[in-house]
Amino acid sequence: MERKKFIRNSLALLAPTMISGNPIHILQDHPLLNTELLGTSSTDKVLVIIQLSGGNDGLNTVVPLSNYNNYYNARNNIALPEKKILKLTGNNATGIHPSMTAFQKLFLDGKLNIVQSVGYPQPSFSHFRATDIWMSGSSSDQYLNTGWAGRYLNYQYPGYPDAYPNSDHPDPIAIQIGSLASLTCQGPAVNMALSISDPSSFYNLIEGTDAVVSNTNAGYELSFLRSIAKQTNQYTVRIKKASDSVKQQVTYPNNSLAAQLKIVARLIKGGLGTKVYMVNYGGFDTHSGQVVLTDTTTGAHANLLKGLSDSVAAFQSDLSGLEIEDRVIGMTYSEFGRRIKSNASVGTDHGSAAPLFLFGKNVRGGIFGDNPTIPPTATSNDNIPYQFDFRSIYNTILQNWFCVSQVAEIEILLKQFPIMPLINASVCGANNKNSIFSKESLIYNYPNPFSNLTKIEFKTQGGHTILQLLNGAGIVVKLLVDTTYNFAGTNSYNLYGAGLSTGVYYIRMQNGDKIFVKAIIKI
């Protein structure tokens, strides 16, 4: 970074009048500068966000093998045969969908994180609201007009867009491909993302072809207006140049996600300084026909998961071949998971928490969190309680990938969320916030099942500790403890059964970086 700045500054000294005349144009066309600008640097880190639109069925994506019988009972018409479920090296308790062989390999290579049961309190079952929550990084009862990545980018690039592009930042700071500018990158003033909404418009841009107009005077004037509109996109030249500079890429599978990721790899390699890329893969709203009844390992959902896994693997291999693997991590998310129990139309309805993938050379690799608990006889209202707040993932990315300070974290995520050990400590060096992830059981209750009263004992390491009671639908119904303890040790809480209907509940504990979820039963 320092070296680049120095070269830019010296150029500015050499040709001050030219610079003041039209800085961007001159800078981007200067051959010396271009090599520098288009060179890669290990500090130019990139996040690729893959949105799986529609609500991905987490239970058929990452399957709790340790709890296979309950899993099968809850959804026998769509359940995957135990033997076909792909095993993950070093993990007997958890497997993945048979179509995701590429992810199995990625996991083996240590380039895939599986984070279990990601969600948030009071989950929304509406696509719209849930998508807005994920994109804005808000709580369920909070409405934010800005996106989490938008707030981060606004912190990183204050004053955008007035002074942009400029010589330090000649490129779009975020790019959304395959859909329109989403809430994710909405900053306080403007959307921080350049949106390439229509992939064909992107190809038109790259190839320099024009869209068709009608043979009228309106068509004539429209072609004029379009030519001006193209000029006004100050990033056009940079994007085209970056894209043109990459000649060799691996073969990608033939699906829309792969096409988008292929563009992303090309732009990163081509030298764009863009921080965040967002791509979209739709069709996960599998209310019916999720699987083929005669072979539940096939069908709509299997195709989507294969598409996801093959595309990400191709992307990862492309990044490796292009020698930019160090700079890129990716994250998948879906607005919600699906219900534990399947429905009669061979599908699943809207649910709550679900697994999330992080991939890249610099993720730590492995499974984080426990298999979700599945009741022996799941009802149609049962949902998976969340273990990890999705904002913990965001926070981890901000602090351990983009190396954002803790102060900024509050500004961006509006409150603190525990950091998870998902990213290699070497990335942010001394600033790394990785913490120890404990598998130790932190909660004990007696009696269980209970009727009138159960005594909950919980082990805190001291500091801020919260204990939440979630119902079977994964919704936080009561905040039991929200206290800062001066000392480590075991504390207790008496939970009375009065006012609680019978059924499965979950106690979720969050103590600093430690999270633990335990199922209890009210009878």
Binding site: Q51, S53, G54, S126, H127, F128, R129, T131, D132, Y143, N145, S179, L180, A181, L183, V190, S197, D198, D210, V212, V213, S214, N215, T216, N217, A218, G219, Y220, E221, L222, S223, F224, L225, R226, I228, A229, Q231, T232, N280, G282, G283, D285
Partner: protein, 534 residues
């Protein structure tokens, strides 16, 4: 792709084709600042003849005049109390007048945004551009007001009388130095522009000579402005010699006259000029370019301009019959011309305010906040290149006359993003003054534009047919539906559900769910180059 603008061979025969929203909107786009949903509905029932008649049925303006809304802790108008009009106050003070000119511009935006269903304001803008005075150069706010009132009150009236009124209008006398012109030192400025820009023009047939300019200047000597800002004819300053014009004017001689009779020479001069058929043709071409399209070839000249000019002359230069012929002609409604006009900045800004029915604080009772907010619109217009009543020079705005680009001159790499930012801003945050906010109400707009906004297909169709005049591909429409209204989902039900949820239970969260998506959709549509056409 067509390489050149095309022309239609259709003539002035009354249009007999179907009267659908497309034709209705086309007529309104050209005669109003954009078409509101209620306007389209209103004229759709009337058919072409009744619609054109009603739009041309301009009543004299009863709009309350602009006010002193500018007194502040740092400035007080010594002559006019706050909240009272300044239009009849005589002041030559530079500071006072700069406040009044600014007040006039804000007021003008309020008049545009609140326009009635007549051609008056669109046509007044045409005449303001035709007689391209600059408020900044006239300096005195009251003169600017009265100058434009002449145009406003005569906009569909008699063109010859309008030229006569403008010729001795104090605003014009100041602007083109007529009030300084004397027999010893005649100023040729008005004598030239009267012919070159206001009547005969400089197209091929206009062959007046430099001597004609000098002689016209002599005829016009004697006009000046008195201390009360009234025009007076001072015969002592008038050139009483005979003025003989060139062969172009059939060697007409205007006999020099003394005393107050000297002013009669002005009428004789106009009579002579208006005998040239070039006047009618020049004005008709300009009208054609303003209301239809800029391309005029031999076919249009023969089929439209010549018969239109003949009608102008036959009607003794009454403007209304000419507009009626043109606006109800089959030529005007040829699909070749639908949506082919690039909006002027005024069209762009005022159309937005009208289509979204933006409510400003009352300009009479709440003038301070009202004018403040209208000023934001003036600022926008200036940034987009059309400073109201301040064209770059006497020729008006180049986009209305400069071949070969004409209205394409409004659009460049600077102004196009500004237009997009304006619509984004009005949808996203609007403007606020003392807690009063002007901002687009997307939900109201959806209800106005679409009979069934819970159906995402109907909503997208309505938005496009209402906001855009070009054909939009079905794939774009379906992309927008899926990506924005359905947030990536496959089933239309999700939008329907969200909309119905909001209607039955208008909580903040339900409102935001619908509003965010409508805003995104509208911003997208308004950022399309297609939105710049009308």
């Amino acid at each position: 792709m067509p390489l050149t603008p095309q022309t239609s061979a259709l003539g002035l025969t009354t249009y007999k084709g179907s009267w659908l929203p497309q034709q209705t909107k086309h007529l309104l786009n050209r005669t109003l600042f954009g078409a509101k949903a209620t306007d389209i509905k209103y004229f759709l029932d009337k058919g072409v003849i009744a619609s054109v008649d009603e739009l041309l049925n301009v009543q004299s303006s009863t709009i309350p005049p602009p006010l002193n809304e500018y007194n502040s802790t740092t400035f007080t108008d010594p002559n006019v109390p706050i909240g009272k009009t300044w239009i009849n106050d005589i002041s030559t003070d530079g500071t006072i007048n700069s406040y009044r000119r600014s007040s006039y511009k804000k007021w003008l935006v309020s008049v545009w945004a609140g326009q009635e269903r007549t051609i008056r304001e669109k046509l007044t803008l045409f005449w303001s551009n035709h007689f391209g005075t600059e408020a900044d150069a006239i300096v005195y706010g009251s003169m600017t007001y009265h100058h434009h009132q002449i145009l406003r009150n005569n906009c569909v009236g008699n063109f010859k009388q309008m030229v006569r009124a403008v010729t001795s209008d104090p605003g014009m006398l100041r602007y083109l130095n007529g009030y300084l012109s004397t027999k010893t030192a005649p100023d040729e400025n008005y004598g030239r522009e009267l012919q070159e820009l206001f009547t005969v023009g400089k197209d091929g047939g206009a062959k007046y000579s430099e001597d004609d300019v000098k002689n016209a200047a002599k005829v016009l000597t004697g006009w000046k402005i008195d201390a009360n800002f009234n025009p007076v004819f001072d015969s002592n300053r008038h050139d009483t010699t005979n003025k003989t014009f060139s062969a172009f004017y059939n060697n007409t001689t205007i006999t020099g006259k003394t005393s107050t009779n000297g002013a009669l020479e002005t009428d004789e001069l106009l009579t002579m000029i208006f005998q040239k058929s070039e006047v009618a043709k020049f004005i008709c071409r300009k009208i054609y370019r303003y209301f239809v399209y800029y391309a005029i070839d031999d076919v249009v000249e023969t089929n439209i301009i010549t018969p239109l000019a003949n009608a102008f002359i036959a009607n003794n230069f009454e403007i209304k019959p000419v507009l009626k012929l043109l606006l109800s002609s089959e030529h005007f409604y040829d699909t070749l011309y639908i949506g082919c006009q690039i909006k002027s900045p005024t069209d762009h800004v005022i159309t937005f305010l009208r289509q979204f029915e933006i409510v400003f604080p009352d300009a009479i009772t709440d003038y301070s906040d009202s004018y403040f907010l209208y000023n934001n619109m003036v600022t926008q217009l200036i940034s987009m290149g059309q400073n109201p009543v301040d064209p770059p020079n006497v020729s008006g705005w180049p986009a209305y006359y400069q071949a070969p680009d004409y209205n394409e001159l409004w659009i460049n790499a600077d102004t196009l993003p500004k237009r997009n930012k304006f619509t984004d801003l009005m949808l996203e945050i609007g403007y606020t003054k003392n807690g009063k906010k002007i901002i687009a109400n997307t939900i109201q707009f959806a209800k106005t534009a679409c009979p069934n906004p819970s159906d995402p297909n109907a909503l997208i169709e309505s938005f496009f047919s209402f906001l855009v005049s070009t054909d939009i591909s079905t794939s774009l429409k379906s992309n927008l539906k899926t990506q924005i209204l359905l947030t990536g989902q496959a089933s239309d039900y999700y939008w329907t559900d969200a909309w119905n949820n909001y209607i039955t239970n208008p909580t903040t969260i339900n409102f935001n769910i619908v509003n965010t998506r409508l805003k995104t959709l509208l911003k997208y549509i308004m950022n399309l180059p297609d939105y710049q056409l009308q």
